[in-house]
Symmetry: C2
Subunit: 225 residues, 2 copies
DNA sequence: TAAGCTATACATACGCTGTAAGGCGGCCTA
DNA sequence: TAGGCCGCCTTACAGCGTATGTATAGCTTA
Protein backbone atom coordinates (compact mmCIF):
# COMPACT_ATOMS: atom_id res chain seq x y z
CA UNK A 1 0.00 0.00 0.00
CA UNK A 2 1.82 2.90 1.33
CA UNK A 3 5.09 1.29 0.40
CA UNK A 4 3.80 0.25 -2.99
CA UNK A 5 2.82 3.81 -3.66
CA UNK A 6 6.24 4.87 -2.52
CA UNK A 7 7.99 2.49 -4.82
CA UNK A 8 5.78 3.29 -7.71
CA UNK A 9 6.22 7.03 -7.32
CA UNK A 10 10.03 6.94 -7.62
CA UNK A 11 10.48 9.63 -5.01
CA UNK A 12 13.02 12.11 -6.19
CA UNK A 13 16.23 12.67 -4.27
CA UNK A 14 15.37 14.55 -1.09
CA UNK A 15 16.09 18.24 -0.92
CA UNK A 16 19.09 19.31 1.12
CA UNK A 17 20.64 22.65 1.92
CA UNK A 18 23.52 21.60 -0.29
CA UNK A 19 21.24 20.91 -3.25
CA UNK A 20 19.36 24.16 -2.74
CA UNK A 21 22.58 26.15 -2.64
CA UNK A 22 23.93 24.39 -5.70
CA UNK A 23 20.83 25.19 -7.72
CA UNK A 24 20.81 28.78 -6.50
CA UNK A 25 24.44 29.19 -7.46
CA UNK A 26 23.82 27.92 -10.98
CA UNK A 27 20.90 30.29 -11.34
CA UNK A 28 22.81 33.32 -10.11
CA UNK A 29 25.87 32.53 -12.22
CA UNK A 30 23.74 32.27 -15.29
CA UNK A 31 21.19 35.03 -14.90
CA UNK A 32 22.56 37.31 -12.22
CA UNK A 33 21.02 38.24 -8.91
CA UNK A 34 17.69 39.20 -10.40
CA UNK A 35 17.23 35.68 -11.72
CA UNK A 36 17.70 34.32 -8.20
CA UNK A 37 14.18 34.08 -6.85
CA UNK A 38 12.88 31.44 -4.52
CA UNK A 39 10.38 30.37 -7.15
CA UNK A 40 13.11 29.97 -9.76
CA UNK A 41 15.26 27.94 -7.43
CA UNK A 42 12.28 25.76 -6.68
CA UNK A 43 11.50 25.33 -10.35
CA UNK A 44 15.07 24.26 -10.98
CA UNK A 45 14.65 21.54 -8.37
CA UNK A 46 11.14 20.50 -9.36
CA UNK A 47 9.75 21.83 -6.10
CA UNK A 48 7.57 24.68 -4.89
CA UNK A 49 9.21 27.80 -3.52
CA UNK A 50 8.04 27.26 0.03
CA UNK A 51 9.68 23.86 0.23
CA UNK A 52 13.06 25.56 0.19
CA UNK A 53 12.32 27.09 3.56
CA UNK A 54 12.78 23.66 5.12
CA UNK A 55 16.47 23.94 4.34
CA UNK A 56 17.11 27.66 4.30
CA UNK A 57 15.88 30.20 6.80
CA UNK A 58 15.31 33.01 4.33
CA UNK A 59 16.59 34.36 1.10
CA UNK A 60 19.21 36.27 3.04
CA UNK A 61 20.37 33.01 4.56
CA UNK A 62 20.54 31.49 1.09
CA UNK A 63 22.68 34.35 -0.19
CA UNK A 64 24.90 34.04 2.88
CA UNK A 65 25.45 30.43 1.90
CA UNK A 66 26.31 31.38 -1.66
CA UNK A 67 28.78 34.03 -0.56
CA UNK A 68 30.49 31.57 1.73
CA UNK A 69 30.77 29.21 -1.21
CA UNK A 70 32.50 31.92 -3.22
CA UNK A 71 34.91 32.57 -0.36
CA UNK A 72 35.59 28.86 -0.38
CA UNK A 73 36.85 29.16 -3.93
CA UNK A 74 39.39 31.81 -2.96
CA UNK A 75 42.84 30.44 -2.32
CA UNK A 76 44.85 31.79 0.58
CA UNK A 77 48.01 30.28 1.92
CA UNK A 78 47.79 29.47 5.64
CA UNK A 79 49.54 32.03 7.87
CA UNK A 80 53.30 31.72 7.93
CA UNK A 81 53.59 29.55 4.85
CA UNK A 82 54.58 32.20 2.32
CA UNK A 83 56.04 35.67 2.53
CA UNK A 84 53.22 38.19 2.74
CA UNK A 85 53.73 39.69 -0.67
CA UNK A 86 53.56 36.41 -2.58
CA UNK A 87 50.61 35.24 -0.54
CA UNK A 88 48.67 38.49 -0.87
CA UNK A 89 49.32 38.75 -4.58
CA UNK A 90 48.06 35.22 -5.12
CA UNK A 91 45.01 35.85 -3.03
CA UNK A 92 44.15 39.08 -4.81
CA UNK A 93 44.29 37.34 -8.17
CA UNK A 94 42.23 34.48 -6.80
CA UNK A 95 39.58 36.86 -5.47
CA UNK A 96 39.29 38.60 -8.81
CA UNK A 97 39.00 35.26 -10.60
CA UNK A 98 36.25 34.09 -8.24
CA UNK A 99 34.35 37.34 -8.67
CA UNK A 100 34.56 37.00 -12.41
CA UNK A 101 33.08 33.54 -12.19
CA UNK A 102 30.34 34.87 -9.91
CA UNK A 103 29.71 38.46 -10.90
CA UNK A 104 26.48 38.64 -8.94
CA UNK A 105 28.58 38.41 -5.77
CA UNK A 106 30.51 41.60 -6.33
CA UNK A 107 28.72 43.98 -3.98
CA UNK A 108 27.96 41.32 -1.39
CA UNK A 109 31.27 39.94 -0.21
CA UNK A 110 31.93 42.47 2.47
CA UNK A 111 30.44 42.95 5.85
CA UNK A 112 27.91 40.15 5.99
CA UNK A 113 26.44 39.92 9.43
CA UNK A 114 26.44 36.12 9.45
CA UNK A 115 29.76 35.17 7.88
CA UNK A 116 30.18 31.49 7.08
CA UNK A 117 33.20 29.35 7.97
CA UNK A 118 34.95 29.85 4.62
CA UNK A 119 34.50 33.60 4.91
CA UNK A 120 36.04 33.59 8.35
CA UNK A 121 38.85 31.27 7.34
CA UNK A 122 39.70 33.58 4.47
CA UNK A 123 39.80 36.75 6.51
CA UNK A 124 41.69 35.02 9.30
CA UNK A 125 44.29 33.75 6.85
CA UNK A 126 44.85 37.20 5.37
CA UNK A 127 45.29 38.83 8.72
CA UNK A 128 47.43 35.94 9.89
CA UNK A 129 49.67 36.11 6.87
CA UNK A 130 50.46 39.76 7.50
CA UNK A 131 50.91 39.40 11.24
CA UNK A 132 53.16 36.36 10.95
CA UNK A 133 55.34 38.19 8.48
CA UNK A 134 55.92 40.93 10.99
CA UNK A 135 53.27 43.53 10.29
CA UNK A 136 52.34 45.44 13.45
CA UNK A 137 48.64 45.09 14.14
CA UNK A 138 47.57 48.52 12.93
CA UNK A 139 49.65 48.25 9.79
CA UNK A 140 48.14 44.88 9.03
CA UNK A 141 44.69 46.43 9.30
CA UNK A 142 45.75 49.27 7.00
CA UNK A 143 47.16 46.85 4.46
CA UNK A 144 44.14 44.58 4.46
CA UNK A 145 41.74 47.48 4.19
CA UNK A 146 43.69 48.97 1.29
CA UNK A 147 44.06 45.74 -0.64
CA UNK A 148 40.45 44.70 -0.22
CA UNK A 149 39.15 48.12 -1.16
CA UNK A 150 41.17 47.97 -4.36
CA UNK A 151 40.22 44.39 -5.20
CA UNK A 152 36.50 44.84 -4.62
CA UNK A 153 36.47 48.24 -6.25
CA UNK A 154 38.19 46.90 -9.31
CA UNK A 155 35.74 44.00 -9.47
CA UNK A 156 32.95 46.54 -9.34
CA UNK A 157 34.35 48.40 -12.33
CA UNK A 158 34.85 45.17 -14.19
CA UNK A 159 31.32 44.08 -13.50
CA UNK A 160 29.80 47.28 -14.80
CA UNK A 161 31.99 47.87 -17.85
CA UNK A 162 31.50 44.66 -19.74
CA UNK A 163 33.80 45.02 -22.71
CA UNK A 164 37.18 43.61 -23.46
CA UNK A 165 38.17 43.47 -27.08
CA UNK A 166 38.69 46.64 -29.08
CA UNK A 167 35.55 45.83 -31.07
CA UNK A 168 33.41 45.58 -27.96
CA UNK A 169 34.91 48.80 -26.68
CA UNK A 170 34.06 50.74 -29.80
CA UNK A 171 30.59 49.21 -29.78
CA UNK A 172 29.93 50.51 -26.28
CA UNK A 173 31.53 53.84 -27.09
CA UNK A 174 29.27 54.23 -30.13
CA UNK A 175 26.27 53.45 -27.98
CA UNK A 176 27.29 56.01 -25.39
CA UNK A 177 27.97 58.58 -28.04
CA UNK A 178 24.44 57.99 -29.30
CA UNK A 179 23.09 58.63 -25.81
CA UNK A 180 25.21 61.72 -25.26
CA UNK A 181 24.46 64.51 -27.70
CA UNK A 182 27.10 66.97 -26.52
CA UNK A 183 30.00 64.54 -26.42
CA UNK A 184 32.31 67.16 -27.83
CA UNK A 185 32.03 69.07 -24.57
CA UNK A 186 34.17 66.36 -23.04
CA UNK A 187 37.39 66.31 -25.04
CA UNK A 188 39.29 64.03 -22.69
CA UNK A 189 36.53 61.45 -22.80
CA UNK A 190 36.61 61.59 -26.56
CA UNK A 191 40.28 60.76 -26.37
CA UNK A 192 39.50 57.82 -24.11
CA UNK A 193 36.87 56.56 -26.48
CA UNK A 194 39.03 56.76 -29.58
CA UNK A 195 42.15 55.35 -27.94
CA UNK A 196 40.21 52.48 -26.39
CA UNK A 197 38.47 51.66 -29.61
CA UNK A 198 41.90 51.48 -31.22
CA UNK A 199 43.74 49.42 -28.67
CA UNK A 200 41.11 47.70 -26.52
CA UNK A 201 41.30 47.30 -22.78
CA UNK A 202 42.90 44.42 -20.94
CA UNK A 203 41.43 44.07 -17.47
CA UNK A 204 44.08 41.65 -16.29
CA UNK A 205 46.91 44.01 -17.16
CA UNK A 206 45.05 46.89 -15.60
CA UNK A 207 44.31 44.96 -12.42
CA UNK A 208 47.85 43.76 -11.95
CA UNK A 209 49.29 47.19 -12.60
CA UNK A 210 47.34 48.60 -9.68
CA UNK A 211 47.90 45.56 -7.54
CA UNK A 212 51.68 45.62 -7.93
CA UNK A 213 51.77 49.34 -7.41
CA UNK A 214 49.93 48.88 -4.12
CA UNK A 215 52.09 45.96 -3.03
CA UNK A 216 55.24 47.97 -3.82
CA UNK A 217 53.91 50.85 -1.80
CA UNK A 218 53.07 48.64 1.17
CA UNK A 219 56.51 47.10 1.06
CA UNK A 220 58.16 50.48 1.07
CA UNK A 221 55.87 51.70 3.83
CA UNK A 222 56.78 48.73 5.94
CA UNK A 223 60.49 49.16 5.31
CA UNK A 224 60.26 52.45 7.07
CA UNK A 225 58.50 55.13 5.08
CA UNK B 1 -11.72 82.48 -16.64
CA UNK B 2 -9.15 79.81 -17.15
CA UNK B 3 -6.95 81.76 -14.82
CA UNK B 4 -9.70 82.11 -12.24
CA UNK B 5 -10.19 78.36 -12.26
CA UNK B 6 -6.50 78.01 -11.74
CA UNK B 7 -6.55 80.35 -8.82
CA UNK B 8 -9.70 78.98 -7.27
CA UNK B 9 -8.70 75.35 -7.31
CA UNK B 10 -5.31 75.97 -5.81
CA UNK B 11 -3.80 73.46 -8.16
CA UNK B 12 -0.79 71.97 -6.58
CA UNK B 13 2.53 72.80 -8.17
CA UNK B 14 2.75 70.73 -11.32
CA UNK B 15 5.00 67.71 -11.29
CA UNK B 16 8.34 68.13 -12.96
CA UNK B 17 11.30 65.87 -13.47
CA UNK B 18 13.13 68.05 -10.97
CA UNK B 19 10.47 67.58 -8.30
CA UNK B 20 10.30 63.86 -8.90
CA UNK B 21 14.07 63.51 -8.59
CA UNK B 22 14.13 65.63 -5.47
CA UNK B 23 11.51 63.48 -3.77
CA UNK B 24 13.24 60.29 -4.88
CA UNK B 25 16.54 61.54 -3.52
CA UNK B 26 15.03 62.33 -0.14
CA UNK B 27 13.47 58.89 -0.01
CA UNK B 28 16.67 57.08 -0.94
CA UNK B 29 18.79 59.10 1.45
CA UNK B 30 16.44 58.33 4.28
CA UNK B 31 15.44 54.73 3.70
CA UNK B 32 17.99 53.37 1.26
CA UNK B 33 17.40 51.92 -2.15
CA UNK B 34 14.70 49.54 -1.00
CA UNK B 35 12.58 52.46 0.16
CA UNK B 36 12.79 53.93 -3.32
CA UNK B 37 9.72 52.57 -5.08
CA UNK B 38 7.64 54.39 -7.64
CA UNK B 39 4.67 54.12 -5.32
CA UNK B 40 6.60 55.67 -2.46
CA UNK B 41 7.84 58.53 -4.57
CA UNK B 42 4.29 59.12 -5.71
CA UNK B 43 3.03 59.06 -2.16
CA UNK B 44 5.65 61.62 -1.18
CA UNK B 45 4.32 63.92 -3.90
CA UNK B 46 0.62 63.23 -3.34
CA UNK B 47 0.36 61.50 -6.68
CA UNK B 48 -0.16 58.01 -8.06
CA UNK B 49 2.86 56.02 -9.12
CA UNK B 50 1.97 56.08 -12.78
CA UNK B 51 1.94 59.85 -12.92
CA UNK B 52 5.67 59.84 -12.45
CA UNK B 53 6.08 58.25 -15.83
CA UNK B 54 5.14 61.51 -17.45
CA UNK B 55 8.44 62.91 -16.24
CA UNK B 56 10.66 59.88 -16.00
CA UNK B 57 11.00 57.13 -18.57
CA UNK B 58 11.46 54.29 -16.11
CA UNK B 59 12.85 53.56 -12.70
CA UNK B 60 16.24 53.08 -14.29
CA UNK B 61 15.97 56.55 -15.77
CA UNK B 62 15.06 57.91 -12.36
CA UNK B 63 18.09 56.29 -10.77
CA UNK B 64 20.26 57.62 -13.60
CA UNK B 65 19.03 61.07 -12.66
CA UNK B 66 19.83 60.53 -9.00
CA UNK B 67 23.32 59.29 -9.76
CA UNK B 68 23.98 62.29 -11.92
CA UNK B 69 22.89 64.46 -9.05
CA UNK B 70 25.42 62.78 -6.79
CA UNK B 71 28.14 63.32 -9.37
CA UNK B 72 27.10 66.96 -9.37
CA UNK B 73 28.00 67.16 -5.69
CA UNK B 74 31.53 65.94 -6.33
CA UNK B 75 34.06 68.73 -6.65
CA UNK B 76 36.75 68.47 -9.28
CA UNK B 77 39.03 71.25 -10.32
CA UNK B 78 38.87 71.97 -14.06
CA UNK B 79 41.78 70.48 -16.03
CA UNK B 80 44.98 72.44 -15.71
CA UNK B 81 43.98 74.43 -12.67
CA UNK B 82 45.78 72.46 -9.97
CA UNK B 83 48.63 69.99 -9.95
CA UNK B 84 47.27 66.50 -10.39
CA UNK B 85 48.03 65.31 -6.90
CA UNK B 86 46.23 68.11 -5.11
CA UNK B 87 43.27 67.90 -7.47
CA UNK B 88 42.98 64.13 -7.26
CA UNK B 89 43.28 64.09 -3.50
CA UNK B 90 40.53 66.68 -3.18
CA UNK B 91 38.31 64.81 -5.56
CA UNK B 92 38.81 61.50 -3.80
CA UNK B 93 37.80 63.03 -0.50
CA UNK B 94 34.85 64.72 -2.13
CA UNK B 95 33.68 61.45 -3.66
CA UNK B 96 33.85 59.69 -0.33
CA UNK B 97 31.92 62.50 1.33
CA UNK B 98 29.19 62.40 -1.33
CA UNK B 99 28.90 58.63 -1.01
CA UNK B 100 28.54 58.94 2.71
CA UNK B 101 25.69 61.39 2.25
CA UNK B 102 24.09 59.04 -0.28
CA UNK B 103 25.02 55.53 0.74
CA UNK B 104 22.44 53.96 -1.53
CA UNK B 105 24.54 55.18 -4.48
CA UNK B 106 27.60 53.17 -3.64
CA UNK B 107 27.34 50.28 -6.09
CA UNK B 108 25.74 52.38 -8.81
CA UNK B 109 28.21 55.11 -9.66
CA UNK B 110 30.21 53.20 -12.20
CA UNK B 111 29.47 52.17 -15.72
CA UNK B 112 26.00 53.55 -16.20
CA UNK B 113 24.94 53.19 -19.78
CA UNK B 114 23.25 56.59 -19.89
CA UNK B 115 25.59 58.89 -18.00
CA UNK B 116 24.25 62.35 -17.28
CA UNK B 117 26.07 65.62 -17.89
CA UNK B 118 27.50 65.87 -14.38
CA UNK B 119 28.81 62.34 -14.61
CA UNK B 120 30.53 63.12 -17.88
CA UNK B 121 31.88 66.41 -16.64
CA UNK B 122 33.37 64.66 -13.64
CA UNK B 123 35.09 61.92 -15.59
CA UNK B 124 36.28 64.36 -18.19
CA UNK B 125 37.77 66.60 -15.54
CA UNK B 126 39.65 63.73 -13.89
CA UNK B 127 41.12 62.54 -17.14
CA UNK B 128 41.87 66.11 -18.15
CA UNK B 129 43.62 66.89 -14.91
CA UNK B 130 46.01 64.00 -15.37
CA UNK B 131 46.64 64.58 -19.06
CA UNK B 132 47.24 68.31 -18.59
CA UNK B 133 49.76 67.57 -15.87
CA UNK B 134 51.76 65.44 -18.23
CA UNK B 135 50.48 61.92 -17.74
CA UNK B 136 50.83 59.89 -20.93
CA UNK B 137 47.47 58.56 -22.03
CA UNK B 138 47.91 54.98 -20.83
CA UNK B 139 49.31 56.08 -17.50
CA UNK B 140 46.38 58.40 -16.98
CA UNK B 141 44.03 55.48 -17.57
CA UNK B 142 46.01 53.37 -15.12
CA UNK B 143 45.91 56.10 -12.51
CA UNK B 144 42.23 56.79 -12.88
CA UNK B 145 41.35 53.13 -12.77
CA UNK B 146 43.43 52.59 -9.66
CA UNK B 147 42.14 55.60 -7.78
CA UNK B 148 38.51 54.93 -8.58
CA UNK B 149 38.78 51.26 -7.71
CA UNK B 150 40.15 52.23 -4.33
CA UNK B 151 37.63 54.98 -3.68
CA UNK B 152 34.58 52.96 -4.64
CA UNK B 153 35.91 49.85 -2.94
CA UNK B 154 36.50 51.76 0.26
CA UNK B 155 33.02 53.24 0.09
CA UNK B 156 31.68 49.73 -0.27
CA UNK B 157 33.45 48.63 2.89
CA UNK B 158 32.26 51.69 4.71
CA UNK B 159 28.70 51.11 3.65
CA UNK B 160 28.64 47.53 4.83
CA UNK B 161 30.52 47.90 8.09
CA UNK B 162 28.49 50.52 9.87
CA UNK B 163 30.39 51.14 13.06
CA UNK B 164 32.69 53.88 14.12
CA UNK B 165 33.09 54.32 17.84
CA UNK B 166 34.75 51.67 19.96
CA UNK B 167 31.40 50.94 21.55
CA UNK B 168 29.71 50.27 18.26
CA UNK B 169 32.61 48.09 17.22
CA UNK B 170 32.39 45.91 20.27
CA UNK B 171 28.64 45.72 19.86
CA UNK B 172 29.00 44.38 16.34
CA UNK B 173 31.80 42.09 17.39
CA UNK B 174 29.67 40.65 20.18
CA UNK B 175 26.88 40.08 17.73
CA UNK B 176 29.20 38.31 15.33
CA UNK B 177 30.66 36.22 18.10
CA UNK B 178 27.13 35.13 18.95
CA UNK B 179 26.58 34.06 15.34
CA UNK B 180 29.90 32.26 15.09
CA UNK B 181 30.23 29.36 17.50
CA UNK B 182 33.83 28.38 16.68
CA UNK B 183 35.33 31.86 16.82
CA UNK B 184 38.40 30.48 18.53
CA UNK B 185 39.34 28.73 15.30
CA UNK B 186 40.19 32.16 13.96
CA UNK B 187 42.82 33.59 16.28
CA UNK B 188 43.73 36.54 14.09
CA UNK B 189 40.12 37.63 13.83
CA UNK B 190 39.85 37.42 17.59
CA UNK B 191 42.77 39.81 17.76
CA UNK B 192 41.00 42.16 15.38
CA UNK B 193 37.84 42.04 17.44
CA UNK B 194 39.55 42.75 20.74
CA UNK B 195 41.86 45.45 19.40
CA UNK B 196 39.03 47.18 17.58
CA UNK B 197 36.77 47.08 20.57
CA UNK B 198 39.57 48.71 22.53
CA UNK B 199 40.55 51.47 20.13
CA UNK B 200 37.67 51.87 17.68
CA UNK B 201 38.05 52.40 13.99
CA UNK B 202 38.39 55.73 12.25
CA UNK B 203 37.28 55.51 8.64
CA UNK B 204 38.69 58.87 7.69
CA UNK B 205 42.17 57.98 8.91
CA UNK B 206 41.95 54.63 7.22
CA UNK B 207 40.77 56.12 3.95
CA UNK B 208 43.43 58.78 3.81
CA UNK B 209 46.17 56.32 4.69
CA UNK B 210 45.36 54.26 1.63
CA UNK B 211 44.75 57.29 -0.52
CA UNK B 212 48.09 58.91 0.26
CA UNK B 213 49.89 55.63 -0.17
CA UNK B 214 48.38 55.31 -3.63
CA UNK B 215 49.14 58.91 -4.57
CA UNK B 216 52.74 58.49 -3.39
CA UNK B 217 53.03 55.37 -5.46
CA UNK B 218 51.62 57.04 -8.55
CA UNK B 219 53.97 59.95 -8.12
CA UNK B 220 56.95 57.65 -7.87
CA UNK B 221 55.76 55.62 -10.83
CA UNK B 222 55.47 58.72 -12.91
CA UNK B 223 58.88 59.97 -11.86
CA UNK B 224 60.33 57.00 -13.61
CA UNK B 225 60.01 53.77 -11.92
C1' DT C 1 -17.16 82.50 -25.73
C1' DA C 2 -17.02 77.83 -27.55
C1' DA C 3 -14.59 73.74 -29.57
C1' DG C 4 -11.04 70.89 -29.84
C1' DC C 5 -6.53 69.31 -28.74
C1' DT C 6 -2.85 68.00 -25.63
C1' DA C 7 -0.63 67.05 -21.56
C1' DT C 8 -1.24 65.22 -17.16
C1' DA C 9 -3.02 62.36 -13.68
C1' DC C 10 -5.68 58.39 -12.40
C1' DA C 11 -7.52 53.49 -12.19
C1' DT C 12 -7.03 48.99 -13.26
C1' DA C 13 -4.52 45.01 -14.12
C1' DC C 14 -0.63 41.56 -14.95
C1' DG C 15 3.01 38.98 -13.50
C1' DC C 16 6.56 39.02 -10.51
C1' DT C 17 8.70 39.11 -5.59
C1' DG C 18 9.52 37.07 -0.36
C1' DT C 19 7.27 34.56 2.96
C1' DA C 20 3.42 33.52 6.79
C1' DA C 21 0.01 29.93 7.76
C1' DG C 22 -2.07 25.62 7.51
C1' DG C 23 -2.92 20.86 5.50
C1' DC C 24 -1.55 16.30 4.18
C1' DG C 25 0.80 12.12 3.01
C1' DG C 26 4.75 9.01 3.62
C1' DC C 27 8.56 7.56 6.82
C1' DC C 28 10.67 6.18 11.15
C1' DT C 29 10.23 4.63 15.73
C1' DA C 30 7.79 2.25 19.42
C1' DT D 1 0.53 -1.80 13.53
C1' DA D 2 -0.04 3.09 15.78
C1' DG D 3 1.67 7.64 16.52
C1' DG D 4 4.06 11.36 15.54
C1' DC D 5 6.98 14.00 12.86
C1' DC D 6 9.02 15.86 8.94
C1' DG D 7 9.02 17.47 4.18
C1' DC D 8 6.42 19.16 0.77
C1' DC D 9 2.35 21.51 -1.05
C1' DT D 10 -1.43 25.00 -1.35
C1' DT D 11 -3.14 29.26 -0.46
C1' DA D 12 -2.75 33.92 0.57
C1' DC D 13 -0.91 38.71 1.35
C1' DA D 14 1.40 42.83 0.54
C1' DG D 15 4.50 44.85 -2.26
C1' DC D 16 7.03 45.67 -6.75
C1' DG D 17 7.57 47.92 -11.97
C1' DT D 18 4.85 49.14 -15.52
C1' DA D 19 1.34 48.37 -19.81
C1' DT D 20 -2.91 49.93 -20.93
C1' DG D 21 -7.01 52.70 -21.16
C1' DT D 22 -9.64 56.74 -19.51
C1' DA D 23 -10.97 61.14 -17.50
C1' DT D 24 -9.93 65.90 -16.96
C1' DA D 25 -7.85 70.43 -16.82
C1' DG D 26 -5.92 74.11 -19.52
C1' DC D 27 -4.37 76.21 -23.63
C1' DT D 28 -5.08 77.37 -28.39
C1' DT D 29 -7.60 78.81 -31.98
C1' DA D 30 -11.98 80.32 -34.27
Amino acid sequence: MAQETTTRRRRRAPLTRERVLRAALALADEGGLEALSMRNVGKQLGVEAMSLYNHVASKEDLVDGLIDFVFGEIEVAPPGELDWRTAMRQRAISVRAALNRHRWAVGLMEGRLSPGPETLRNHDAVMGCLREDGFPFRDAVHAMSLMDAYIYGFALQEKHLPFETADEVSEVMDLQRANVPAMDDYPYLVEVATEMAKAGYDYTTEFEFGLDLILDALERFRAGG
